[in-house]
């Protein structure tokens, strides 16, 4: 027993080290005066942080990244949640199509996806090429499985058929059933989908760079550009990027945590 416990603690510590050391090192680097000749930094300074934050591009790229991340997450939530519900309840056979679609964005390398999208969108009469909207659409395609999977799992974990029928027999139509009965019970799934999409888009580089890189600079692009001439300022940016993703996660977990207490009722109630 004791050995077991010890072993578990060791694994946990090693894991935390593995996760945290690069982060701490990045942070230290971003506040060090110089750190290339010695084991520990030679001195500490906030100069790099001040420099990087005071640039006009900093605010702009951060704003752009927030915009595209939120827009993608919200658009996917609105698009995927009702669709997944409808597919599960009315067309369960076409679930397969959704599974295959989910595999696409994993199976196709970002470069190919970007080029394919450019070719596709330049071939349709809607003027999308060279607009931010093309990035939004591309990110939605890329992140579709991150939204669909958790929502589909949440739908599978409750008895949506009986709940829907109970609601209908009480006079509820499709929309009120979806809003009042289904949504609250799959909220944790939606929240984690939102979170996954948000953090993926916030860190997305390949698609953005190829599709709109020259005109619409996002935070990761800014960051990559910085690594070319100053690693310490880039490190400061990386830390900021991490903190943003972390804070958004925390907020969402907080919200969905509150909801989970009530949605647990279902699984236990049955």
């Amino acid at each position: 027993m004791r050995m077991n416990k010890l072993f578990r603690s060791i694994v946990l510590v090693l894991f935390l080290l593995f996760m945290l050391v690069p982060l701490i090192a990045t942070f230290l680097f971003s506040i060090s005066t110089r750190w290339d000749r010695t084991i520990l930094p030679e001195g500490f300074t906030l100069e790099w942080w001040k420099k990087v934050i005071s640039r006009g591009a900093f605010g702009l790229t951060l704003k752009n990244s927030f915009y595209i991340s939120f827009a993608t997450s919200i658009a996917l939530t609105i698009l995927v949640t009702p669709t997944a519900y409808w597919v599960h309840i009315r067309a369960p056979k076409s679930k397969v199509i959704f599974e295959i679609m989910s595999a696409f964005s994993f199976g196709i390398p970002g470069v190919i996806l970007a080029l394919a999208l450019i070719r596709f969108y330049s071939g349709i009469p809607v003027p999308l090429i060279n607009t931010t909207n093309i990035l939004l659409l591309a990110c939605m395609e890329l992140c579709f499985p991150f939204m669909y999977r958790p929502v589909a799992n949440a739908l599978d974990s409750i008895d949506i058929h009986t709940l829907t029928e109970a609601s209908q027999s009480l006079g509820g139509n499709w929309i009120s059933t979806f809003i009042h009965v289904i949504l609250p019970n799959i909220f944790p799934g939606i929240a984690s989908g939102f979170l996954l999409v948000f953090s993926t888009v916030f860190a997305e580089f390949t698609l953005t760079n190829l599709l709109v890189g020259a005109r619409f600079k996002t935070f990761p692009i800014y960051l990559v550009e910085f690594t070319r001439f100053d690693g310490r300022q880039a490190s400061a940016l990386a830390i900021i990027s991490f903190v943003v993703a972390w804070v958004v996660s925390l907020l969402l977990l907080l919200i969905s945590g509150k909801r989970t207490i009530t949605s647990d009722n279902l699984t236990i109630g049955h």
Binding site: E165, A166, S169, L170, G172, S176, D264, G269
Partner: protein, 354 residues
């Protein structure tokens, strides 16, 4: 005119004929049970009444209005599910108020009605709780209250008690019957439990393989089964196969059974004689001839059933069961020879379909 009418309703899934030419009239305020083994089409029929399934053929009328293709949320038909199906994200009060909200009932009225139905199911103090904080029996009572709050025209219950344990089941079925007759609400109750159906129904519809076998009061179904399926599915019946031998006699292998006058049968016709175990007397010595049919056999099994003891008696390659009271069971032991006797009047003779 009946209140709820199903006319020649058919429903097929793939190559399974789930419901076959189902025609039934249900009068206002009555409790009608659909009774039959699992898979006989009870749920499918109920779901067609609710509007969750569409009949392939036939019509369904409610209060002289054809509702065959009306969508479920427009039918004013309440439903109680086997799995309770309470909304887990809502408190008991919110669950019950849901239907009224959908109907845009004024707030004050909603509060009043929720209290009313909570009172009815005797769960007033659970209003603020969530479904997972209730027992199965309580959840089902809330589900009933929720269905009743909107005052539906018809109440449907699909095996509402089968997820509950025996004690709760018996108590709750009495409760359902009490509320149903207090409100005089037209109710269809689906069950595979004959005791449940017989104890609470005004009418019982016995089904097999998607076909109605018999419709009648519980007494009629039990005392005068019209098909062999009904006779053997409801309660227990001994079956003696044979041919009509005389005007009130059936010839079985090595045994002649005297019956009522067999005016509906022709001589030599293949028939089965059905006798309920409780109508057979067990004698430890040979009775006089006026006891009716007498069969000699050997006691093979003695099974205690509480109020009665059931004997399995071997005679002539056949097992015959007979029920006796606990007192008289004391004088009977295994492998003993006994004489079973039953009057010609208790024999039910039915043709055997080829």
């Amino acid at each position: 005119m009946a209140y709820l009418e199903l006319k020649n309703v058919h429903k097929t899934f793939g190559n399974v004929k789930a419901v076959n030419d189902f025609t039934l009239d249900i009068n206002k305020g009555k409790l009608v049970s659909f009774l039959g083994p699992s898979g006989c089409g009870k749920t499918t029929t109920l779901r067609m009444i609710a509007g969750f399934e569409q009949p392939d053929e036939g019509t369904i009328q409610l209060d002289n209005e054809d509702i065959t293709i009306v969508s479920p949320n427009q039918r004013d038909i309440g439903m109680v599910f086997q799995a309770y199906a309470l909304f887990p994200n809502m408190s008991v009060r919110q669950n019950i108020a849901f239907g009224l909200k959908m109907k845009k009932t004024p707030k004050v009225e909603i509060e009043k009605r929720v209290d009313e139905v909570l009172e009815m199911v005797r769960l007033k103090d659970t209003a603020k709780r969530y479904p997972h904080q209730l027992s199965g029996g309580q959840q089902q009572r809330i589900a009933l209250a929720r269905a009743l709050a909107v005052r539906p025209r018809v109440l449907l219950l699909d095996e509402p008690l089968s997820a509950l344990d025996a004690e709760v089941r018996v108590a709750l079925r009495g409760e359902i019957r009490r509320i149903q007759s207090d409100l005089a609400i037209t109710t269809v109750y689906v069950t595979h439990d004959q005791e449940e159906a017989l104890s609470i129904s005004d009418q019982v519809v016995v089904m097999e393989n998607g076909v109605i076998q018999q419709v009648g009061t519980p007494q009629e179904i039990y005392r005068a089964p019209q098909t062999r399926f009904v006779a053997t599915f409801i309660g227990t019946a001994n079956q003696f196969f044979g041919k009509v031998g005389g005007e009130s006699e059936v010839q079985c292998s090595g045994l002649s059974i005297s019956t009522r006058k067999l005016s509906d049968f022709t001589k030599g016709q293949e028939v089965v004689v059905l006798v309920r175990p409780e109508l057979i007397s067990v004698n430890t010595s040979q009775p006089s001839a006026d006891a009716g049919n007498i069969i000699e056999g050997i006691v093979e099994t003695v099974t205690f059933h509480g109020a009665v003891t059931r004997l399995g008696v071997h005679m002539n390659q056949q097992r015959v069961v007979a029920d006796i009271t606990v007192n008289s069971a004391e004088s009977i032991s295994l492998n003993q020879t006994v004489w079973l006797s039953f009057k010609p009047e208790v024999c039910k003779v039915m043709a055997v379909a080829e």
